[in-house]
């Protein structure tokens, strides 16, 4: 092919990638367009998809009731014996003789519930604080941000532990609440920062110049533009919530009710048998790491996709 026709073709190709395919496409849609081609996102989304699917279908997949001590006769406290893998029980049993695989499968439900609930509550609280501080400014901003600073000055796990310990009786709900409260200042601070950036932006000034009401300026012109970093943070926070919840369970601040399996709690109760039966810790830990990795990968790729620098 002649060089000149090659060049022409290249220019044509470039021209086609102009406004053409993006016409009539919103910000979210163009972010999605980029995400679909990102292998990091695809891997992360596959992990999360599999995890959610597993959590939803686990009652069907689990062959045994996770609370029943079906293999109790094979447990020996004195000789430190735990039921090995056997027909019908591919991963054997735990230290009480309960079916380990069924517990692992059903544990995904609780883990997902804790992660999502904690993030939703944390996001709700953080959005409220961020909007208050970013929209009003002045002394409201100062007050809110000092509270947030105090909360951020305590290491997050320590804060979660302290909050968890405040409750007389630990249930799954107290775990969720403890993990959620830790997320609140992070979301609050993040949103406040991007709200302030929006407040100083030209389009907010232009909206004000058109007499748009302050409420509308905040909710239609500032908030939607400020949400990008918060969306990214919430996927990352799903991963953190799973790890934090696991840590709480591990430290004995999880749900006291062990008949409902949860990965963190399984990991916690496995610590006494770590020398002799590492598989009891290996499986739940592996699951936690994999799911947290999935959320982190999605979060990172979402961050890239929503980065305004990548927008045309």
């Amino acid at each position: 092919m002649l060089p000149s026709t090659q060049r022409k073709q290249r220019i044509d190709e470039l021209a086609e990638t102009g406004p053409g395919p993006d016409a009539g496409v919103s910000l979210a849609a163009s972010a999605w367009r980029r995400l679909r081609r990102n292998p990091v996102f695809l891997v992360g989304a596959s992990i999360i998809g599999a995890f959610v699917l597993l959590a939803l279908s686990s009652p069907l997949l689990a062959q045994h009731d996770p609370a029943l001590r079906l293999l109790e006769d094979q447990v020996s406290r004195a000789q430190n014996e735990i039921p090995p893998p056997q027909p019908g029980f591919p991963l054997g049993g735990d230290q009480y003789g309960r079916p380990f695989l069924s517990r692992l499968l059903l544990g995904s439900q609780q883990t997902l519930l804790v992660a999502v609930m904690a993030t939703v509550i944390g996001l709700g609280g953080g959005l409220t604080l961020g909007i208050l501080a970013g929209a009003f400014g002045g002394w409201v901003d100062t007050l809110v941000m000092r509270v947030v600073d105090v909360m951020l000055s305590v290491p997050s796990l320590l804060l979660a532990v302290s909050i968890g310990a405040l409750f007389a009786q630990q249930t799954q709900f107290t775990v969720i609440l403890a993990v959620a409260i830790v997320q609140v200042p992070i979301f609050g601070r993040l949103l406040r920062g991007s709200m302030l950036a929006q407040r100083a932006s030209d389009h907010v000034l232009a909206a004000r110049a058109l007499g748009v009401k302050e409420r509308s300026v905040v909710f239609r012109h500032m908030l939607p533009n400020a949400l990008g970093p918060v969306v990214v943070q919430s996927t990352l926070s799903l991963a953190v919530a799973i790890i934090d919840a696991a840590a709480l369970s591990f430290l004995g601040l999880g749900s006291g009710d062990t008949s409902v399996p949860e990965w963190g709690q399984m990991l916690g109760s496995a610590q006494n048998f770590f020398d002799s039966h590492p598989q009891l810790a290996f499986w739940p830990a592996g699951c936690i790491i994999l799911v947290a990795l999935g959320f982190t990968l999605v979060g990172e790729s979402l961050r890239d996709a929503l980065d305004p620098k990548n927008r045309r």
């Binding site: 406004p19 993006d22 016409a23 009539g24 496409v25 919103s26 910000l27 002045g138 932006s201 030209d202 389009h203 000034l205 232009a206 909206a207 004000r208 110049a209 058109l210 007499g211 748009v212 009401k213 302050e214 509308s216 239609r220 012109h221 939607p224 533009n225 927008r311 045309r312």
Partner: protein, 332 residues
């Protein structure tokens, strides 16, 4: 009666631990209904701050605004936040310099136009959207039905500015402030946008304050021109008179630094040396003195007062151009 009377408008910014900066230092001018008034000057001379002060868009904290801005007899500076909010967009419109950053990137264009109409006319969304469609059509955006649903990043620069003009004029304000509306656009688009503004302003009888540093824009559009320097008006005249005979050395300097098609190739452009930042405060003489080619010893010592030179012109200068240097008259 004038539509807008700006009297002794001063704006200064005070930050903790920093000296107070005076951006606008006692500006007065009138805008008659249906007229186009230019505010001309270099960057930093107070043009944009003046317009933001008129619109009440300066941040309240750390800003001191004095003087008065009478709009149809009401002092805009004395209005409550709610009242000025209601007037913006309805009585006063504004078009900004950078059309891309002035549009909300996550709200479709149509909705942004409709929002203004809903706000000030109190009409329901559906009716507002159909009015928005008509407006986009009127400002010359092709295929308005499709554009209504599009986002700012999908529009070209010229179309974005057209959309912003549509928003500013949606409720037929009596005064439109255009703050360098063509600076961010291509030359060909600039002409189109100016043409559009001229037509719309003439059609609706809207008065226009044109803020610009571009004398070409002034020559093409403005009825009356205010030349600003360091926060004060240094010369005011009708357009033709100003271009025919600039009196202030600053005005003359601005004109000499613009290339002209009808000048001979021999003639060189003569820029004004220095920048606004290195001026001296008005209290100690003429602020333009350090850069002025006509400066006398007097200029560095006494502040020139505003002089009405007849025929509606106004001048703030000890030694204007186009006039023999005052020599002591010798007796016979």
């Amino acid at each position: 009666m004038a539509l807008l009377e700006v009297r002794d408008l001063s704006v200064s910014f005070a930050r903790k631990g920093e000296p107070t900066v005076t951006a606008v230092d006692g500006i007065s001018f009138d805008v008659q209904p249906g007229r186009t008034v230019g505010l001309v000057g270099e960057s930093g001379c107070g043009k944009s701050v003046t317009s933001l002060a008129i619109m009440g868009l300066l941040p309240r904290r750390g800003t001191e605004v004095s003087g008065s801005v009478l709009f149809e007899g009401t002092d805009l500076l004395g209005l409550s936040q709610r009242d000025i909010e209601q007037r913006r967009g309805r009585d006063l419109g504004m078009v900004f310099q950078d059309p891309l950053s002035s549009l909300n990137p996550v709200v479709p264009i149509g909705l942004q136009v409709a929002e203004v109409i809903e706000r000030h006319r109190g009409v329901p969304r559906r009716a507002a959207m159909s009015q928005a469609r008509e407006l986009l059509d009127r400002v010359g955006i092709p295929d308005p039905d499709r554009r209504l649903k599009e986002y700012s990043h999908q529009l070209s620069g010229g179309m974005r500015q057209r959309a912003l003009i549509a928003m500013a004029l949606a409720c037929r304000p009596r005064l439109l402030i255009a703050d360098e509306p063509t600076t961010a656009l291509d030359v060909t688009i600039q002409a189109q946008i100016l043409d559009l503004l001229t037509t719309l302003v003439a059609d609706t009888g809207t008065a226009l304050i044109m803020i610009t540093h571009d004398l070409g824009v002034v020559a093409g559009m403005c009825d009356e021109v205010n030349v600003l320097y360091a926060g004060r008006v240094v010369e005011r005249a009708e357009r033709h008179e100003l271009f025919a005979a600039p009196r202030h050395p600053y005005t003359a300097g601005l004109m000499a630094s613009v290339p002209r098609l009808d000048s001979s190739g021999e003639q060189r452009l003569s820029p004004i040396s220095g920048s606004v930042a290195d001026n001296i405060p008005w209290e100690q003489g003429c602020a333009f003195c350090p850069r002025c080619s006509n400066a006398l010893q007097l200029c560095g010592q006494a502040t020139p007062e505003v002089e009405h030179t007849g025929d509606g012109r106004l001048l703030r200068c000890h030694n204007p151009v186009g006039e023999a240097t005052p020599i002591s008259v010798e007796g016979p």
